[in-house]
């Protein structure tokens, strides 16, 4: 007996604990809940039993939220590790995840993977890349036969047909889906790398059961999204579905249609933006024109005493020419397929020095105002008007207005 080792109680408990934690480690355990009790600390103490045996269990506060409140007699699936609580030598199960049986192992695996990838930094907000404001080239990874492809293309066609779409087919459910999705992501990355720039790629599928969406909760897919050299917009299922891919992607969209929507500008908005700028340009130039014209003409007349008439007339002609070009640009010049657009462009191309005013056209405006009159009804009888001719101007009063 001499060489038999004598343990202290503490040593024994510690040894037992070490053995249990290393030999059994983390396991899934199924059982019926007995006497659940939430302590003041927030930890939940309970026991699990089956027909022949039972084990004490604890779920510490601050882990991922409980999927259900534990109730006496509830059958649950728990994930955790077996250990010994050294102060009292009691053997117990420390549960990190508890869910009612029936919610499926799928969800538990999802939570576990999500936590692991989060800790690894795959979801870090600072690594999310922004999308360009006006994309010219968009990748789409989804099934060739699914509704998602149709939805995405319909929205892109309506909002932003200026972009070119590159479609990378992949199955989105079933056993081969995760590997195929990784391959497609790799191809999109290579494609972009080979000089045919892709601004970003939309990755997704339409709604389905939890099993249907499983490929988008696959760790390989999550890592392929993380490794993608171009930004990824995830578009998995319906609004309520959340996938691991959603967390890793640069941008998360609730549905495939929404992905196409939030990653592109609207053609109508951009058209309005252009017309708005054209309006601002015209207003600015008109203001400049009416502000300078009078003083220029007066100055030119005054310089007649110093310079040959020919030179002064040449400058006056130039002024008239500028006036003609400016007035040839009503806002309607930008309206689609309009006669006025073609006319305006013709005027622009004119190198012929025949100026509208010299040909007998004139500009009429209300005396003291800077903008030309376009409609007779703008000047009711009695209004004082000013007419700008090729040479000089007339001030008169309106006698009668005739509508055309």
């Amino acid at each position: 007996m001499n060489d038999e080792r004598v343990y202290t109680v503490t040593e024994l408990n510690r040894t037992a604990r070490g053995l249990l934690e290393t030999e059994v480690g983390e396991v899934w355990l199924k059982g019926e809940v007995v006497a659940p009790k939430t302590a003041a600390s927030g930890h939940v103490y309970f026991a699990l039993k089956d027909a022949e045996s039972r084990i004490d269990a604890v779920r510490f506060r601050g882990r991922s939220p409980l999927l259900a409140t534990l109730e006496e007699g509830m059958v649950v699936l728990v994930f955790g590790r077996v250990t010994v609580y050294e102060p009292n030598g009691r053997y117990q199960f420390v549960a990190s995840l508890v869910q009612p049986v029936g919610a499926g192992l799928l969800h538990a695996a999802f939570e576990r993977l999500k936590e692991r990838l989060r800790e690894e930094g795959l979801f870090d907000p600072e690594r999310k890349r922004p999308l360009p404001a006006y994309p010219s080239s968009i990748g789409v990874i989804t099934s060739q036969s699914g509704a998602a492809l149709h939805d995405v293309l319909a929205v892109l066609g309506r909002r932003w047909p200026l972009a070119r779409v590159f479609f990378f087919p992949s199955s989105v459910q079933g056993e081969t889906a995760p590997a195929e999705l990784c391959t497609a992501l790799g191809r999109a990355g290579r494609f972009a790398h080979e000089g045919r720039a892709l601004d970003f790629v939309i990755l997704g599928r339409g709604g389905g059961s939890a099993e249907d969406l499983a490929a988008f909760n696959d760790e390989r897919v999550a890592r392929a999204v993380h490794a993608s050299p171009i930004p990824v917009v995830s578009a998995v299922g319906h609004d309520i579905d959340v996938s691991i891919t959603d967390f890793v992607a640069d941008v998360r969209a609730p549905t495939p249609s929404a992905a196409a929507e939030l990653s592109t500008p609207d053609r109508g908005d951009v058209r309005a933006l252009i017309l708005g700028k054209a309006d601002r340009m015209r207003t600015a130039v008109e203001a400049r024109w009416w502000g300078t014209e009078r003083s220029l003409r007066v100055g030119l007349r005054a310089s007649l005493v110093r310079e040959p008439r020919r030179l002064v007339e040449a400058r006056e002609q130039k002024l008239d020419s500028l006036s003609g070009r400016l007035l040839a640009f009503p806002r309607a010049a930008l309206e689609p397929r309009s006669e006025r657009l073609r006319h305006a462009e013709d005027v622009l191309r004119l190198t012929d020095p025949r100026r509208p005013l010299e040909r007998g056209y004139s500009i009429t405006r209300i005396a003291g105002k800077t903008t030309p009159l376009r409609q007779a009804e703008g000047a009711p009888p009695g209004t004082e008007i000013e007419t700008v001719l090729a040479s000089g101007r007339l001030r008169s009063r309106v006698e009668e207005v005739t509508e055309t």
Binding site: Y134, L153, L156, F166, M281, A284, T292, L322, L341
Partner: protein
Amino acid sequence: MKIEQALAKLEEITATLERGELPLDEAIRLFEEGVALASEAKRDLDAARLRIDRVIEDAKGALTAEPFDVS
């Protein structure tokens, strides 16, 4: 010109004109350039039709894009 560049150039022209510091004939020349640019950009916008290519990989691992008919 890509739409993004056209929009940036248009904004630059508009801002220059709004400052009102250019001689009149230069202002009008710039205005004409701006209007031409605006009509070109708008024409591109109106004429655009979505083009879709499917990218496939051959046995040697080369990627090719081929026109894809959605229907």
